[in-house]
């Protein structure tokens, strides 16, 4: 990881800095922003999936920050309680973050000031959300709510989805995946307590939450207000046994990366290139 991890400091002497010192954000949990030195009104938000972590899920993403097309992009890694909170609540909190950033709200300006990133304009004309698994579900729910609330920034949003869980998950496989991850020990505590984590209900194939998500999305798309809900690209790993890979609403046909699984698609060498293609 380290050999490739050259987010900002590629050139040690006299080189041009593309991004600023990573800044811990007050939104979500473990969220970090890396602001561009020369902002180009573009915001890229990474949102992890079930049991993921803001930065760790995307551990290969440093290469994106070195990519010329990303030089003016503010990059934000968003973390949230993927195991302990219902998806709807996570979506509301995520929407608040995007809203603050897109409208340049006072808390966002405060963060910019504290990060020393007030130079240049930051009136985002393009917001690319890169979401994994549950993150895709949370994002779509947040966008639906934003459409209902008539947030003007919705039309600026584009989606790139990795292993989206919007068509439901296979719970045994999901649980098996959790059993191998340190990031999911809290799920064991739900097991000890014999409480079914609310998120499991949300992600269950055919759940009311997912059914509503699909029908509302289709309705908005049919009504011409849901452009942002249609993903620009959907990518699955060939060996993704965790989520259902059926297409969602008007999404394009998905791409499948050979030999990858549900989580590895987020951190293989082609992941940053894929993101860069959309910048």
């Amino acid at each position: 990881m380290i050999d490739r991890w050259n987010i900002i400091a590629r050139r040690r002497a006299g080189g041009r800095l593309l991004h600023r010192l990573p800044y811990p954000l007050a939104w979500g949990n473990g969220s970090v922003a890396i602001f561009a030195e020369q902002p180009a009104n573009r915001l890229v938000i990474f949102i992890h999936g079930f049991g993921g972590k803001a930065v760790k899920t995307w551990s290969g993403m440093h290469e994106l920050l070195e990519h010329p097309k990303a030089s003016g992009s503010d990059v934000l890694f968003y973390g949230y309680g993927s195991l302990s909170a219902p998806a709807r609540n996570s979506a509301t909190l995520f929407r608040e973050l995007v809203d603050a950033a897109a409208t340049n709200a006072p808390p966002w300006r405060h963060a910019l000031r504290k990060a020393g990133a007030l130079g240049g304009t930051r009136d985002y004309s393009d917001i690319l959300i890169v979401a994994h698994s549950l993150g895709a579900v949370v994002t779509r729910r947040a966008l639906l709510d934003a459409i209902t609330a008539q947030h003007p920034w919705v039309d600026k949003v584009r989606l790139l989805l990795f292993g989206p869980a919007h068509m439901g998950t296979r719970l045994p496989e999901l649980k098996a995946q959790l059993r191998s991850s340190i990031s999911a020990i809290i799920a064991d505590l739900f097991t000890i307590a014999q409480i079914r984590a609310p998120i499991l209900d949300d992600l269950n194939e055919g759940s009311r939450f997912l059914a509503d998500l699909l029908s509302e999305s289709e309705q908005q798309i049919a009504g011409g207000r849901g452009r942002a809900l249609v993903a620009e690209r959907v990518i699955f790993g060939e060996r993704d046994y965790v989520v259902r890979t059926d297409p969602f609403a008007s999404d394009p046909l998905s791409m499948v990366w050979a030999n990858e699984d549900h989580t590895s698609v987020c951190r293989v060498p082609q992941t940053p290139s894929e993101v860069a293609r959309l910048l």
Partner: protein, 688 residues
Amino acid sequence: MSEPRPHPLAPQIVERYAVQQRLGRVLGLIDSKEIKVQLRSHLEKPIFSSEIPARENLDELLAGLAVLHISGVDSADDLEELGVSADAVLGVVRNQHVKRYYEKHYPFAGPILLRESLEGNQRYCAQLIREQVHPTWTSSVSAFLLLDAVFKALGPMQDFLSLLDGFEVKGVRLEHLYSAVGSKLLMRRWLRSGKRTQILVGMQDFFSFSEQLDTLLAQSAETPLLRGQVWLHFGYWYGGGGERMRSVASRIAESLKELVAEDAEEAKVAVARADLQPHYEKLRVILERLTGPTYPQALFSTFPDELGRWMRSAQVALMQDQRVSHYGNTRREGDAIEQNEMASVSPEEEMTAQWPVGSNPVDSITSGLPKRLFSLPELEASYQADSRALWTFMRPPLRPCLTTSMLDDFGTLQEMIPRHFGPQAVPLDFLVLGSRTSGVFSFGADLDLSQRLIRARDRDGLIAYGSRCVEILHRFMDALDLPMVTVGLVQGQALGGGFEILLSLDFIIAERGSTFGLPEMMFGMIPSMGAHAILSRKLGTAVAERMILSNQTYSAEAMYEAGIVSQLADPGEGMAAAAAFIEKSARRHAGLVAARRTMRTAAPVTLEELRTNVSNWADAAVQLSERDLKLMTRLAAAQARMFRYVEDPTVSAKSSPRQRQPNHDTKLEVTNLYSFELAKLAKLARSR
């Protein structure tokens, strides 16, 4: 080879931490002559909320300087280039009060390294330069800066860290968490409470953070000093806190195993438990690496003395379970340190940089001793070869009393010492027993356990517990059948069984301000571990009886006058006094051993007598009234309050870890509060 230069983000670090502004404020504080008062130890005097901003300003400055140093700022020129006055920085990091603050109370040791670097420690600087031109150095620093931001962004984790640090957070203490992970019912309650769920999320975050840190450190093997610097930046949490974290993780794993077994039994299916929990094994390995010597090895080998004080204050016991003299050339089997750490150290350097054995009384190490002896969870041990002394310190994770887990460790220690030390094995002339709990030697019997047994009228349980205590005490009285001298080092309160354990040792060295007492009579009990037997032989029955019945606490000076304490030391000088005692006594060691043996023969205390004492104690205990039990409960609660986290309203949950450090400083002088509580209860008991 390119010219080593600081990381390109160094100017932003200066800006982010407001280094220049903070530097000015700290220099102002130094000039005001109030620095001694402002930076006093929270362990000695209470810290007032009005003083916190100045301390936070210093915390943030020291944090900024440490991050700058990790980012390659290691000379006066580098600082000047960043617009920071090197003289001003040196003025701060060399100031004796600031030095004391960051070496002893400030949980991060980064400023120690910067100071050494600015002062031109040649060996360190030469190695730093080698690392800074290594192709991976810049990317490793970048990864560290990102991880540092992640650490600061994890709000709930800060709560969990406070819990690990022994504080009460949102009405929860670590022992509550322990109970919860062992009970379906309690865990259900926790997960239905938002505040408590946040603590669990914080715990989860810390485990995940540890995994990320481990990955980063494992991949930085080619820059061992940088790896040590990064470890040190977070190292405080892998000292005492790390031990507790391991304990939390293992308890969760154990609880799950039980649950899985239960479910499997109900479903009548065979389940391979280990297969269900590979992540706990992974976590165990990660935590072992982070709390072990692998990552900071090179750094601690370079600065054993400079980092020694910090290691003790942060309860980092890394060097105790290894047999390495320098850069791992005699590293123990299985140690994962890569050979390339040695690659840039010349044979000449290898020869001239030997570990200065004996330069620090407790950090020295030797070969041929079992690792387990030096890795007991609640008893820290280190062997000093040149003085043939084994230093042991009680380090309970929660209340400083004789819990069953503490007794287990005492039992293991007493079993291992005769097997590995002695005339035919590793020489051992002195055994020192002290405590790592600030202000407390020991509160004696586990009141929590005692009251539960008493309420259940479980006389057998009480006798079993008391017997274990006196067996340990009696083994100490016999000096474990070795020709050695035992020394008790008291740097705070020694009450009840804690006092009695001291009485079983040959000599007691006490810091002025320490107190001794036998509070059992307060709630209608008698001391259970031999106070009657030993005190009546030392002081005569009349004086012993008065002491036991009085409910009073006695000062170290009074105990010295009575002949119980052998030597007094000034506050904070107990360790040095014990080391001096050992040095002074080395030549007359044989005489001391013979004298103590003769004394034991002249006034023998048999195990049988102590067991009878326990039996009397149990008889008295099961007859306690509800009112007496309530007093005992209050005393137990007062002990527990010692670890209460005094919330600092000026520090938000989103604060940086640096800002959280005043946790220590906002902790009131709890030991005094406890004394106050004890006096109140004694008065209450007398009035009955």
